[in-house]
Amino acid sequence: MGWRKSALAAAHPLAKRDQGPLGSASVSASEPSSSPFPLRQPGGAPIVSGRFLRRARLLAEAIFASHAGPPPRQRLDWLMLEAEDYLARGGAQIRFTLGLAAFAVCVLAPLWSWRLRSLASLEVNARVAALERLEASPLAAPLLAVKAMLCVLYYEHPDAAREVGFEPTCLTGPRSPAAHASAGVGS
């Protein structure tokens, strides 16, 4: 829970601080989508388990690590908020499937590298190596499932997009005069 609170607190400052020139054309890209969405069930339990989010963060730190280390903490906080919102809307079957996949990866990756330690206890470099071995193995499917979801979200962050040379000129949907001319049903 502590992590969840710190992530929420970090999210909005990130929108201002960790945003480059690209962000000026795509301000919404760094604002978490999750803020208005109630992420708790009526009984108070979170829709997406903290355990899944911790595992997803472990994997994200490795998947998006550069030679300099994992991505900035604030960007990972933002990513986890996005992941939580995404899965909360994705339905129980999807949450179960991805939860199981993340669990499988965290168990299999160290074993596949002959390490009898938990994935969390490995340094980022060792985690990268373990996951690379798993990705090249016949047991890659769970890793690819979690990686796919994380990639879709991660590269929407303007700084992450810019780092790989992507300029989403239209993917943030600039409003044009044409959009107002055809306002759509019932508007």
């Binding site: 979801m149 590269y155 306002a183």
Partner: protein
């Protein structure tokens, strides 16, 4: 008049009408519009939310996925046998999948209609008899050819390679007006340039007096004997989609247009089609594969129309090739590598070209209610499995002919390959579970036919063994089409609506 929102309606909702249309996508919108303009009282209920183009046009791709798509775009069909898991993408919003297509408009192919009208006995489904319906939809949607100037450099590269190999490519036609090629049709057109049904047919339906409700989930149909009398369900809250008040609609006629996923589930819950046992079966999906190629020079493939060219040169192998592009996150997701090796490959995104291919498949899928919720399964036939191999190999050859340095096939764990490796690559031996496969075209789960024991609806779309209950959407298509189905679904819906407006409504 405007769309009304079940999410903000206080208490229960009770409605009474002539015709209840369940689903506001490509088919439901057409039926609602045609019947309302014919003077009938029409109510449309849609499970999904309502967003205007101004609203969905400013969503990031993943926001669009989580707000406008079924299961946040992560719905999948479990592969049976030597079949990959297939990501099946379907819209759930006012306007349905038409808001989220690339806008591609193909008529029902002549060869398909020939099969329907001769082998399957659906004698009214001929090119000549559907001509007026085809024309009506094309006029309403402003179907036009994508100009060469809107082709992305990604598509241009593929066309270059195809020309070098003598593979003919053709311009795609889409339902657009004033498109500037911003390349995000799949997440909702931000410019109102794609004429999806929310900005065409549903506007007309509203103008003609139809009532349209979002956030209304229909749980079951109501019957008196064999005659349908309406539907019951729940109003949903705006964000978590949890049930709120009750929904009850009384109608003289009900048209189910919830798509190939939603319609069979509703019929199953309502006990329709038990005699044939065909509800939810015969699902075709047009299994689709994308091939990426890295070029030396930057292409910035996201600049230009999302879909602009296609090729039917391999139709004999059951394959249609169509251009596309996907957001960088999706591209990065399919590239091998973790950490620095992943980032190095992701940095090649501006250098990537992409093209897609889909298979004119046989109906071996199913939608069932399942123990833990709705479930899709799909078994790829040997013929379709062969088509997948042909598709991947031909597309790779075309990209290499265009000068690609490296090609990424949709085979998990394979990584990039160079031209000299392709001939020796035994693609036919790759296990199905290792293929990366998607679908935007689930069809056929409430199959139309002339035999009540082998189909769900009769040639007019009426559910067998019922009265006044019609199914009008992609679920009734008797076979796979081999082309993007939007226009075909709307044409069939127009035909059904024209028949329905002539049928007297009984009190």
């Amino acid at each position: 008049m405007s769309v009304q929102h079940g999410a903000t309606h206080a208490g229960d909702l009770r409605l009474e009408t002539d015709v209840l249309v369940i689903g506001s996508g490509a088919a439901g919108a057409v039926v609602a519009c045609e019947l309302a303009e014919a003077g009938q009282r029409v109510v449309v209920v849609e499970e999904g939310p309502h967003f205007t183009p101004q609203q969905y046009g400013v969503m990031r791709p993943s926001e669009s996925l989580r707000k406008l798509w079924v299961d946040a775009g992560l719905a999948f069909a479990i592969g049976l046998g030597d079949t990959p898991m297939i990501n099946v993408m379907m819209g759930r919003c006012i306007g349905g999948s038409s808001v989220l297509t690339g806008g591609v408009c193909f008529r029902i192919p002549g060869s398909v209609l020939h099969q329907w009208s001769t082998e399957l006995g659906l004698t009214e489904l001929t090119e000549a008899k559907l001509e007026a319906a085809h024309e009506s939809v094309e006029r309403a949607l402003h179907v036009e050819e994508v100009p060469t100037s809107l082709r992305s450099r990604s598509s241009q590269k593929f066309v270059q390679g195809a020309e070098r190999l003598g593979v003919p490519m053709k311009p795609i036609v889409r339902n657009t007006k004033g498109c500037n090629g911003c390349g995000r049709c799949n997440f909702g057109c931000p410019h109102g340039a794609k004429l999806s049904v929310d900005v065409t047919y549903l506007e007309r339906a509203l103008a003609a007096g139809a009532e349209i409700w979002s956030d209304c989930r229909v749980d079951r149909l109501s019957f008196r004997g064999a005659r349908v009398t309406g539907a019951e369900g729940r109003l949903l809250d705006a964000e978590r989609r949890q049930p709120r008040g009750r929904l009850r609609v009384q109608a003289k006629r009900v048209v189910v247009a919830a798509g190939a996923y939603g319609s069979p589930l509703l019929l199953q819950r309502s006990g329709v089609g038990r005699r044939s046992g065909q509800v939810g079966r015969n699902m075709t999906v047009h299994p689709a594969f994308r091939v990426m190629a890295r070029f030396k020079e930057p292409l910035r493939g996201w600049e230009g129309a999302l879909q602009s060219v296609y090729s039917d040169a391999f139709e004999a192998d059951g394959v249609t090739l169509t251009g596309l592009f996907v957001p960088p996150g999706v591209l990065a997701a399919t590239m091998p590598g973790i950490g620095p090796s992943h980032l190095r490959r992701a940095e090649s995104i501006p250098h990537l070209a992409i093209f897609g291919g889909m298979i004119h498949d046989e109906g071996n899928g199913a939608v069932t209610r399942g123990l833990f919720g709705p479930q899709m399964t799909y078994r790829m036939s040997a013929k379709d499995r062969h088509s997948a191999t042909v598709l991947m190999r031909r597309m790779a050859e075309i990209f290499f002919a265009a000068g690609a340095e490296e090609v990424f096939l949709p085979v998990l764990g394979l990584g990039g390959i160079h031209a000299d490796r392709l001939p020796s690559l035994a693609l036919e031996r790759v296990p199905g579970r290792q293929l990366e496969c998607g679908s935007q075209h689930p069809l056929g789960t409430c199959k139309m036919g002339v035999n009540p024991n082998g189909s769900v609806v009769d040639p007019n779309g009426k559910a067998w063994d019922t009265e006044e209950l019609y199914v009008v959407d992609g679920s009734t298509l008797p076979t796979s089409l081999g082309v993007n189905p939007q226009l075909s679904i709307m044409t069939m819906a127009t035909r059904s609506a024209w028949k329905l407006r002539e049928l007297p409504l009984r009190g």
